[in-house]
C-alpha cells in the first residue's frame, strides 16, 4: 500500500464524524456544495509555458494546488554493441517481457528502453528521497511506460536515442494528495511536446531540422481512420477516487480524504481499439490519512460531559465496540470491498466515464 503524505490532517473528531456522515448520505453532500460525487475541482490550465522545454504545462486548481511540468528531450548515445544479433539479444534482456519477433519488420518497434524516460517529482517540504515524491514518480513513470509506445518513439537509430527528462514541480504545498493533478499536468505537457524533425538517415549521426515549425509531436495526433491499432497512443491519466460507506467520490479534497474508507488511484489511457471508453493500466490503493486520526470520545465515556471514564484500557475497548453510535468518530478499519473496487473501475473506464471525460477535456485544451 502506498504511503500517505506525512502532513497530518488536524481535524477534531466532531468534524470528522460530521464530514463522514455527510459524505455517506445518498446523494453525498460534499464540502463544496456545487460539486457532485463525480465532479472535479475546477482548474485552470495552460501549455507551452516554458520556452526552453520541448513541452510544458501548468495546471492550477481553484483551491490553490498548482503544478508545473516541463518535458526536455536530449539526444543520447545508445550503448554500443559490436554486432547486430548480439544487440538484439541484449535488448531482449533489457526490455524483459517485450516481444522481439517483429523487430526485423518494423524499425522502431520494441527498441525503446525504460531508462530513456527519467522523471523527477519535486514537492515543497519534502526531500527527494521521501516516500511521497518517490512513490508519485514511480506511479507516474509506470503508467507512462506501460504501453511501450512512447519509448519506441524515442528511438532514433542504432547509435542514438532521445532521452526524455520529465520534471514535475508542485508549486504549492501539498494541500491534498497531488497525484491526480500531477498526472493531468504531465499528460498535458507530453501531449503538447514536440521533437525536432530528423533529417539524417539510418545510422548516421543524427541531424535535425532547425525549423521548429517542422518539428513532430511526441504523441502524434491520431487521424482517426488511418490504422486502428496505431491510433491508440495518448499519455495516461491517473484518477483518484475514494470510498465512503457505499458512496464513491472522485477528486477528493484534503478534508474529504481525511474521512475516506479507502482511496484508489486508477491509471488509464483511452483506447480506440476497444469499444469501451478507456483502458486501465494500473491500480494502486493509497493509505488514507483517516487511519491515523484520533478517536472521538463518546459522551458516555467523557467525565467532562457527565460520563464515566472506563477503569482500564480493555474496558474502554469493550465499551467502544459495544457503542454502535455513528455520531462518534471511529477511524475506518480494514480495506476495500471487492465490489466497491469493481464499481470504481467501472465508473472510471466505462463509455463516457470519468477517464474519458478527463482525457477529452485535456485534449480540447490542446486543440483550442
Amino acid at each position: 500500500m502506498a504511503p500517505s503524505q506525512h502532513v497530518q490532517v488536524n481535524l477534531s473528531p466532531a468534524e470528522l464524524s460530521y464530514l463522514r456522515s455527510s459524505l455517506a448520505q445518498s446523494p453525498p453532500i460534499r464540502l463544496d456544495h456545487t460539486k457532485g460525487p463525480k465532479d472535479f475541482r475546477s482548474m485552470r490550465a495552460e501549455y507551452d509555458v516554458l520556452p526552453g522545454a520541448n513541452g510544458s504545462a501548468r495546471i492550477a486548481l481553484d483551491d490553490g494546488l498548482e503544478a508545473l511540468v516541463g518535458v526536455k528531450a536530449e539526444v543520447e548515445k545508445s550503448q554500443r554493441s559490436p554486432r547486430v544479433d548480439e544487440q538484439e539479444h541484449r535488448l531482449t534482456v533489457a526490455a524483459g517481457d517485450m516481444d522481439m519477433q517483429d523487430a526485423d519488420d518494423d524499425d522502431t518497434k520494441a527498441k525503446g528502453q525504460n531508462a530513456w524516460v527519467e522523471m523527477s517529482v519535486e514537492i515543497p517540504g519534502f526531500r527527494d528521497e521521501d516516500a511521497l515524491p518517490v512513490f508519485l514518480a514511480s506511479m507516474l513513470t509506470e503508467s507512462l511506460l506501460a504501453s511501450g509506445g512512447l519509448k519506441d518513439r524515442l528511438y532514433i537509430n542504432r547509435r542514438f536515442h532521445w532521452k526524455l527528462y520529465i520534471d514535475i514541480l508542485l508549486l504549492s504545498p501539498a494541500l491534498s494528495y497531488p497525484l491526480a493533478l500531477l498526472s493531468m499536468t504531465t499528460h498535458l505537457a507530453l501531449l503538447t511536446s514536440r521533437l525536432p524533425a530528423l533529417k539524417s538517415e539510418k545510422d548516421e549521426d543524427p541531424l535535425f531540422d532547425d525549423d521548429w515549425d517542422a518539428s513532430v509531436p511526441l504523441y502524434p495526433k491520431s487521424k482517426g481512420k488511418t490504422k486502428g491499432t496505431q491510433a491508440m497512443d495518448r499519455p495516461p491519466v491517473i484518477v483518484l477516487a475514494m470510498a465512503v460507506d457505499q458512496n464513491i467520490i472522485f477528486d477528493p479534497c484534503k478534508e474529504e480524504l481525511a474521512v475516506a474508507d479507502a482511496v484508489l488511484a486508477v491509471a488509464c489511457t483511452d483506447s480506440t481499439s476497444s469499444p469501451s471508453g478507456a483502458q486501465v493500466i494500473a491500480i494502486r490503493t493509497i493509505d488514507p490519512p483517516s487511519h491515523l486520526t484520533p478517536l472521538g470520545v463518546p459522551n458516555a465515556m467523557n467525565s467532562a460531559t457527565g460520563g464515566v471514564v472506563p477503569a482500564s484500557t480493555a474496558d474502554a475497548i469493550t465499551q467502544r465496540e459495544l457503542l454502535a453510535s455513528s455520531d462518534v468518530w471511529t477511524p475506518p478499519r480494514g480495506g476495500m470491498k471487492r465490489a466497491l473496487v469493481g464499481q470504481i473501475v467501472k465508473a472510471v473506464v466505462e463509455k463516457g466515464g470519468v477517464a474519458e471525460e478527463v482525457i477529452q477535456a485535456l485534449q480540447s485544451i490542446d486543440v483550442g
Binding site: L11, Y18, T34, S42, A304, G306
Partner: protein, 343 residues
C-alpha cells in the same frame, strides 16, 4: 460534466469601492518626489525594500521604514501605497491576523501542555488558553483542582475547534484567550472553513471577515436554523443551531450547570440531511465570497444565501442555467452578486 478546465485569467480586482477615508489628495502633491514612475495611487504596488520617496516632507506610516541617518522611506511589505495628507503607508497584499483584545476568534488546539493549551488562531504566533480561563463543568464556583490538570484532555484535546475571545495581549504579540462565557466553547455539529490570508484588521478592506457588531448569528433556512460563527481571524464555522437551554429559574452563579453536559462533548447531535445540505451551501458561499473579493459579514451572507436559494429554485423550475458554469463556488457567488447588483 465532471471536469471543467478553464484558460488562465488575471485575478479579478476587488469589487467594492475603497473607503472614502483614504487617498485624499493634497493640493500641493509633489509627485515628482516619488521615484516610482507611476502615479502614486492605490493601484501602486511596492515591494519590500523598495524606496518609496527620499523627500523629507513625507511622514512614514504602517508598512514603511526610514533607515537611520537618512530621509528615505522604504517599504517593508509588499502591498499598495496609500497617502493620507503627508502620511505614507503601505497596505500589505496578504497579512496574517493580528489579535486584538476583545476579538471573537475561532481556534484549533495545536498542543496540550500542563496547565494550558496552545491554539492556532491564524496569528503569527500560537495563542494560549490557560486552564484557568475556561468554564469547568459543574458550576462557576468550582475550584480548579489537580484532577482537572490531569484530565486536561477531556476538555480540549489536539485538533479540537473552539470559539474564544482574546483576553490579553502579551508584549511579544502572543494572545491569551478565554472561554468564560456561554457563547464560547467547543464547536461541533458543523463544518469549518478557513479563509486564507483574509484575517481582520487592515485586510478586511479586501474581502474576508470584517469586525462587526455581531460575529455570531443564526440563519433561517427551509431546513431549519443554521448557526454561523465568523471568527475575526478568518476562521468560520457553520453548524446546526442548537437553541440554548430553556432559561429556567437558575441563579446567575449556576448558569453553567445547564449546559455543562454537552459543553465539552466531541459527539455530534443528529443533523438531518436537508440541514446538512444547507450548511454545505452556506460554507461554500462564504468561500465563494472571499474568492470574489467581497467582504464577509452577517448582512452579506444572508443576502447572498437568500439570492442563491432563489436562483437555484428558478433554475429548477425554468430548467435553464443561471449560475456561471464550471467555476464552482466562485462562479455561483459571482452570478449571485451580479443579480444583487442589478436587482
Amino acid at each position: 460534466m465532471p471536469i471543467t478546465i478553464l484558460s488562465p485569467s488575471a485575478a479579478i480586482p476587488p469589487q467594492h469601492a475603497p473607503p472614502d477615508d483614504e487617498d485624499i489628495p493634497m493640493a500641493d502633491d509633489d509627485d515628482s518626489a516619488f521615484l516610482s514612475t507611476a502615479q502614486p495611487s492605490s493601484k501602486n504596488i511596492v515591494t519590500p525594500g523598495e524606496t518609496i520617496t527620499s523627500d523629507p516632507q513625507w511622514m512614514r506610516g504602517h508598512g514603511t521604514y526610514i533607515p537611520p541617518n537618512t530621509s528615505t522611506i522604504i517599504s517593508t511589505v509588499a502591498g499598495t501605497l496609500h497617502k493620507t495628507n503627508k502620511l505614507l503607508s503601505v497596505q500589505p497584499l496578504r497579512a496574517r491576523y493580528q489579535p486584538e483584545i476583545g476579538d471573537l476568534v475561532i481556534g484549533r488546539i495545536v498542543s496540550v501542555q500542563t496547565k494550558k493549551w496552545s491554539v492556532d488562531i491564524a496569528a503569527p504566533t500560537l495563542a494560549s488558553l490557560p486552564l484557568s480561563s475556561i468554564n469547568l463543568p459543574g458550576g462557576i464556583l468550582r475550584r480548579r483542582t489537580a484532577v482537572d490538570e490531569l484530565n486536561i484532555r477531556t476538555f480540549f484535546s489536539e485538533g479540537d475547534l473552539l470559539v474564544a475571545e482574546v483576553q490579553q495581549l502579551h508584549n511579544d504579540g502572543n494572545a491569551a484567550l478565554h472561554t468564560r462565557s456561554l457563547k464560547y466553547g467547543k464547536l461541533r455539529n458543523g463544518v469549518f472553513t478557513a479563509l486564507a490570508g483574509a484575517g481582520g484588521g487592515i485586510m478586511s478592506r479586501r474581502g474576508g471577515v470584517v469586525r462587526s457588531k455581531r460575529q455570531t448569528f443564526t440563519l433561517q433556512t427551509a431546513a431549519g436554523e443554521i448557526g454561523v460563527v465568523l471568527g475575526v481571524n478568518g476562521y468560520i464555522f457553520v453548524s446546526k443551531h442548537v437553541a440554548p437551554a430553556e432559561a429556567r429559574d437558575v441563579s446567575i452563579t449556576r448558569l453553567e450547570e445547564g449546559v455543562s453536559e454537552t459543553l465539552y462533548s466531541s459527539q455530534n447531535d443528529e443533523v438531518e440531511p436537508g440541514l446538512r445540505r444547507e450548511i454545505a451551501r452556506v460554507s461554500t458561499l462564504v468561500r465563494g465570497l472571499v474568492a470574489c473579493g467581497a467582504k464577509v459579514d452577517e448582512d452579506m451572507i444572508v443576502r447572498v444565501y437568500e439570492a442563491a436559494v432563489e436562483m437555484e429554485e428558478e433554475e429548477r423550475v425554468m430548467g435553464e442555467k443561471v449560475f456561471g458554469v464550471g467555476e464552482g463556488a466562485k462562479g455561483v457567488v459571482r452570478s449571485v452578486l451580479d443579480r444583487l447588483a442589478v436587482g
